[in-house]
Subunit: 333 residues, 2 copies
């Protein structure tokens, strides 16, 4: 049996095709009773609109490209959930582009692939808009940054400076020497993020304002081995200088490595060594990690709304949606 079309629905409901289309797109000018009968016909026939017909008639692709770093963290799963729920409401499809490497990025955007055909672009964490200005990417779609910001495009992000400050404020009240460990930004200039820089500056300003000294020279890449090595070095120094101490780990991943290493040395978490993380990953609650929580879904949802309003013709200056982090105090600090 043929897939039902909008014509079939119109016939079944005893209305015109225009009316069915109006119901599908939530146009206001459809009377309650008419709308009901259309909806009934739709469900009776199990009708689903043909997206390609829609695209060609509407002259748009109703597709959004999302460019993501390749990381399996819960963060991006939740971010996508937020993005997709908003785009789904507006009947947009989402195409995901994992940023595997530089050449692949250029291929994504430079040729006639899905990303190129999309009506809009979402960039997560990495701000690649500079490439547009350098004319290395020729895309001109409306763009929104999420988990990143810039003053020339719309953005939806958490205030990482504020997060750093919350951590700093809290840490400043704890006894013992203060330490901090940072994530190094990626090697490739292209894929950089200011997230960790911001966390750092917030933390440092607050701690210094409180007159506390910090040993903040520890860094690690986003890799479990590197994190563990850094944790070990830091704890060597801390043990040499004398416990207790407090460590701010600018990502839960680093905090996790610290917790492991602390346990390995038979030290007591929350007493000998206090650890403050950042991200509130799913395991953080389980392991009692004091950390900063981000409203990730909301960030995604709002990013989508910003982009959708551009697609609906909004022409104003770039807007920024700033979200506030929340310090979750658990046992680790």
């Amino acid at each position: 049996m043929r897939k039902p079309t909008i014509q079939d629905v119109a016939r079944q409901a005893g209305v015109g095709v225009g009316t069915v289309s109006r119901v599908l797109n939530n146009h206001v000018a459809v009377k309650g009773a008419t709308r009901e009968s259309v909806l009934k016909a739709i469900s009776d026939l199990e009708y689903t609109p043909n997206p390609h017909a829609r695209r060609i008639a509407g002259g748009k692709s109703y597709t959004i490209s999302v460019l993501l770093p390749v990381l399996t963290t819960e963060f991006y799963v939740r971010l996508l959930d937020g993005l997709e729920s908003a785009f789904q409401e507006a009947r947009y499809d989402v195409a995901i582009f994992p940023l595997l490497d530089r050449s692949r990025l250029e291929r994504y955007l430079g040729s006639h692939t899905l990303a190129y055909q999309a009506d809009g672009l979402v960039m997560a964490t990495y701000n690649l808009t500079q490439m547009f200005h350098e004319r290395r990417l020729r895309t001109q779609q409306p763009t929104v940054l999420v988990d990143a910001y810039a003053d020339n495009v719309d953005s939806s992000f958490m205030d990482n400076v504020a997060g750093g400050r919350l951590a700093g404020e809290y840490a400043a009240k704890l006894p013992g020497q203060l330490y901090a460990v940072w994530v190094e930004t990626e090697l490739d200039q292209l894929f950089t993020t200011r997230v960790f820089e911001d966390r750092r500056s917030g933390f440092m300003s607050e701690v210094q304002a409180a007159g506390r000294s910090v040993r903040a020279e520890y860094t690690s890449s986003f890799d479990s081995l590197a994190a563990r090595n850094t944790a070990a070095t830091l704890l060597d120094d801390a043990q040499a200088a004398g416990l207790p101490c407090t460590v701010f780990a600018s990502a839960d991943m680093l905090a996790g490595a610290l917790l492991d290493e602390v346990r390995l040395r038979g030290l007591r978490i929350g007493q000998d060594v206090r650890v403050i993380g950042f991200d509130d990953q799913p395991w953080a609650a389980e392991r009692g990690l004091t950390t900063l929580h981000q409203p990730v879904e909301s960030m995604g949802y709002e990013a989508a709304q910003l982009l959708l309003s551009r697609l609906n013709g909004y022409k104003g200056p770039p807007r920024a949606r700033r979200f506030e982090p929340r310090l979750i105090v658990r046992g680790s600090a």
Copy 2:
């Protein structure tokens, strides 16, 4: 200025629209001279066909979904290169779906997202077809496995058993105790792969046939810290038992951890400790790693061809394209 359509091209070239369409789709029945004039008109007008119109007219989505594990290894970049080059030739778009987690997979395939609309499915490394049979996924698109195999669907893969055998055969001739380290398959039952199992069975059979004993109880997950820990444990044992020794690492990632740990201990690679990897990642040449090379692009390209032939109506039984690994001998063993 409006984007040129096929009508504009036809007018410019002084031919009918049907002819233009035939040229675009490489139908044979177009004379050389006519074809030339059409091609000239296309390039003069900078015409690019509207993919959505094509989809609706053709009744297909001309889109393939590729389901990938989320790993930044060179392997998947190359695999995608192979897949995309074949699909591009056939004028198919590729949509990538990183397998972030289970719920996301079900959402991808269960609802009316891009993956669902696609004409075909490529699954890399993970064989998720069992979910179709369990009715947990309702997709019925033609499917091809790449870097994985099963007897109920088309597949394109390297013979990992043969790779293991090559490694075993080579290792069996080297002096000292033999060791082997394996990658554990993922925890989630859904995302499993037989790749490492195969490498293991190939290696073991060859080594045992040569009458050599192996200490093959070492395993690690695909994580740098875990790999390093395993490497350390293995080398502790090896040093206790006496050098020289030879280690087969069933993934270059593990081999890399071994090389690091060997250097750390001041041992000589290729003399005290010989290491054989698997994958031939880009850094392997640089670090002189003896390893097994896979024709990754070809695997991807052939997988695409298998799928395309299904899309063109091929109805035969499942086919398997098996590729042979090649042992690259460098300094490490």
